[in-house]
């Protein structure tokens, strides 16, 4: 197997694991935010809340990612 193919597989595996982590944490947070006492189904307001919560979670993730990256660069500049 050549280097290129191996690296492709490594990157894909890492991306899949990352997506799984994101979904698991997002589900946890959005369930807590949006579902009060669990009913017989997810009603309309709960569905809308979940959709907005997902968007906000990804916004938050991106904000945190930028903030962490900036901090790392600042720390490296000090060394």
């Amino acid at each position: 197997m050549d280097t290129g193919t191996i690296m492709e597989q490594v990157k894909v595996q890492i991306a899949v694991a990352n997506a799984q982590e994101l979904l698991q944490r997002m589900t946890d947070k959005c369930f807590k935010k949006c579902i009060g006492k669990p009913g017989g189904t997810l009603d309309n307001s709960e569905q809308k809340c979940i959709a907005m919560c997902m968007d906000r979670y990804m916004d938050a993730w991106n904000t945190v990612s930028r903030a962490y990256n900036s901090r790392l660069q600042r720390e490296r500049a000090r060394i």
Binding site: A17, L22, R25, K33, C34, C53, A60, T63, A67, Y68
Partner: protein, 89 residues
């Protein structure tokens, strides 16, 4: 001669692969940290029901949260090191 050439080019491939995998691992570690920070800082900063966008107050909170969490980690590490050096458990 041929065997020697094949050996050294295989070794070059293997160490190049190691180098590239190490880079991906570093990226993955960064992402794992972002997941952790987002988890903690969501609880600290997101009030009430989800809104249609992140307002600037929430954005500022998230950024501060990341920095303060890192500061806390450094603070604890430093103090703990001192405690250990003094012989505390």
């Amino acid at each position: 001669m041929d065997g020697f050439d094949i050996n050294s080019s295989e070794k070059a491939d293997a160490s190049e692969l190691q180098r590239m995998i190490a880079i991906e691992q570093q990226k993955a570690q960064f992402q794992a940290q972002v997941h952790n920070f987002t988890d903690v800082c969501w609880d600290k900063c997101m009030e009430g029901s989800p809104s249609s966008k992140l307002d600037s107050r929430t954005e500022t909170c998230l950024v501060s949260c990341v920095d303060r969490f890192i500061d806390t980690t450094l603070s604890i590490t430093n103090r703990f090191t001192q405690m250990v050096q003094k012989g505390a458990h």
